[in-house]
């Protein structure tokens, strides 16, 4: 039986070749693909998240890990055709209207998808109505919004109000973040969650879903 902890390590180090080889070996040895994902790939990504939050890792570390994870998942895809990749929950995420900063939002989206969330990324400069339409259409468990400017933070409230008006607010948890955003601000506008960085967004989203 292949040692799945080595797979987690390969993801943590962003070693794509090794991650693919170890995934193949684990699958060939009969390991359950869901275990390979949870104990290998997601465990590795969780470790990257912690190191990113603590300041030990940087954007490229996260990017390399995400790429390794994606390649390893490709190996497992045929085995998961019937059941699909197991997900913890569905997230729609985007940077709010007027805001052209997407690096941080991409980090959050990557950590979430690398940790088992199904993520729909709407990109940047997303109009209020688009968020509402996507909540209606995709029926996510969580709506994530990012803003990097104090001038665009107020858009969070606009979206929350529009969700209320559309009768959608109770169907979705709202999490917000971005450099100028604080927990106090998130409480103030009635968001359900806040995370300071990409690594912390994962446990926060799990908490919101009680998982």
């Amino acid at each position: 039986m292949a040692d799945i902890s080595l797979l987690a390590q390969a993801i943590d180090r962003g070693d794509m070749e090794k991650a693919v080889a170890l995934t193949r070996a684990a699958a060939a040895s009969g390991a359950n693909p869901k275990d390979i994902i949870a104990k290998g790939l997601q465990a590795g990504m969780a470790s990257v998240g912690e190191k990113f939050s603590s300041g030990e890792y940087f954007l490229p570390d996260m990017l390399m890990a995400a790429r390794a994870l994606k390649a390893a998942l490709e190996v497992l895809k045929p085995m998961l055709e019937k059941t699909g990749i197991p997900t913890i929950g569905r997230v729609v995420i985007g940077t709010v209207e007027g805001d052209m900063h997407d690096i941080g939002k991409n980090v959050v989206a990557t950590f979430l998808s690398g940790n088992g969330f199904e993520v729909f990324d709407l990109g940047l400069n997303v109009p209020v109505q688009k968020f509402v339409d996507e909540v209606k259409d995709k029926k996510p468990d969580i709506l994530g919004m990012s803003a990097l400017l104090t001038t665009t933070m107020p858009v969070f409230s606009k979206v929350i109000k529009a969700l209320e008006q559309g009768g959608l607010r109770s169907s979705v948890k709202v999490i917000v973040g971005g450099a100028p955003v604080t927990q106090d601000y998130a409480n103030y506008i009635g968001a359900d969650g806040y995370a300071h960085d990409g690594g912390r967004a994962v446990p926060e989203c799990r908490k919101l879903l009680g998982k």
């Binding site: 954007l59 490229p60 390399m64 790429r67 690096i103 980090v107 001038t151 107020p154």
Partner: protein, 373 residues
């Protein structure tokens, strides 16, 4: 005779001792928004931002892009304008590359963002290299001189010889995009380095033209964030900064970086760059670094310009919070030399413009140098 605001800023930038903190304030985000929406306060309707800053009693900091312009040869550059998008195609004998930008200033900030980058895949390397090699630099001094005349002795027009973002930053941010940059650097480092070298050569050409303009301070880089740049800072950024700083210092000029991002893990390396001024310094609560830490980590060789994070101008903070923050910042920066009070990096559109005047009053009361704690 008392020094003018411009002389004060330049003196602090050169490390000379003053008897009061200089102040160079930047308000273009606030100003552009309210001008575009017709919502400038009654008193300021029809005023220029320079006059508003004068009225507030503050030294002026305004931005001008660059004192050179790019000029292309042996290629066709076709621009298609479909507001708010501009698509630019570079048709060269070795192939075509294109970028799609959005440009708008009506919401306050100038928004210029490459929705589609010039680089899309490996086949674009030789074309982009060709574009860089066949781009020249020509003087664009007149608009800068005009703005400088408008500001006069009341402050500074901050500008650059060429690209606002050093060659590596231009490749990362504008040409390839941050994320793809790191993948390319991992997969094809030699090609990325070749591209950086081509952009460096172009920037050297701009510097040789720009040096003929008699500006005192050259801005050579902007918009770092330590999550992104730290791992490549020593290898790709510092040697360039050292080269440019040496070139400019030898000609009696000062060197500045617009350091408005999270600087936590970059501050100590900043000391190796040769850069004189770290401008738009943005401390906690907007980033994780306090002003005291900035002072310690950047060392006494660098002048700090900034210190007031833009969120402090927001209504979320009361006047009392604002005053307490400013007074504490002065203490943290004691004795206060090599420090120019300024914004990190602007007054937001819903900020209170009169807080600029409050800073002036607080400097008068508490900003005498050396600051006694």
């Amino acid at each position: 005779m008392a020094l003018t605001p411009k002389q004060q800023i330049l003196a602090a930038a050169r490390g000379q001792k003053l008897d009061k903190l200089p102040f160079g304030a930047r308000i273009d985000v606030w100003y552009n928004y309210h001008s575009a929406h017709g919502t400038l306060p009654d008193k300021y309707k029809g005023w220029s931002q320079v006059d508003i800053l004068r009225d507030q009693g503050a030294g002026v900091e305004v931005r001008f892009f660059a004192v050179t312009r790019e000029e292309y040869r042996d290629m066709e550059v076709v621009e298609t304008n479909d507001p708010p998008y501009i698509t630019t195609e570079y048709r060269t004998p070795v192939g075509t590359v294109a970028k799609k930008e959005v440009f708008d200033t009506s919401e306050g900030p100038w928004i210029k963002y490459e929705m589609e980058k010039l680089f899309k895949s490996e086949k674009d390397y030789p074309v982009i290299k060709y574009v860089m090699e066949h781009t020249g630099a020509v003087a664009n001094f007149e608009p800068y001189y005009k703005l400088r005349e408008e500001v006069g002795e009341d402050g500074m027009v901050m500008t650059a010889a060429g690209g606002l973002w050093s060659p590596v930053q231009r490749v990362m941010r504008e040409i390839i995009g941050y994320e793809q940059f790191f993948y390319e650097l991992a997969d094809r480092p030699a090609r990325v380095e070749e591209m950086i070298e081509a952009v460096k050569d172009l920037e050297r050409r701009k510097l040789r033209v720009g040096i003929e303009c008699d500006l005192e301070i050259f801005n050579i880089c902007a918009n770092w964030s330590d999550d992104i740049q730290t791992p490549v800072f020593r290898k790709y950024f510092i040697p360039w900064f050292q080269e440019v700083s040496e070139f400019l210092h030898a000609r009696g000029r000062l060197v500045m970086a617009h350091t408005d991002g999270e600087m936590r893990r970059l501050n100590r390396m900043f000391r190796e760059t040769g850069i004189d001024i770290a401008e738009a310094i943005t401390p906690a609560p907007q980033t994780l670094v306090s002003m005291k830490e900035f002072r310690e980590q950047l060392g006494d060789g660098a002048t700090i310009w900034g210190g007031i994070p833009s969120i402090l101008f927001e209504p979320m903070y009361s006047d009392a919070d604002f005053d307490a923050y400013i007074k504490n910042m002065f203490k943290e920066m004691a004795p206060g030399y090599r420090f120019i009070v300024g914004m990190g990096d602007n007054v937001p559109f819903d900020g209170d413009i009169n807080r600029v005047g409050r800073v002036v009053e607080l400097i008068d009361k508490y900003g005498r140098l050396p600051i006694q704690v």
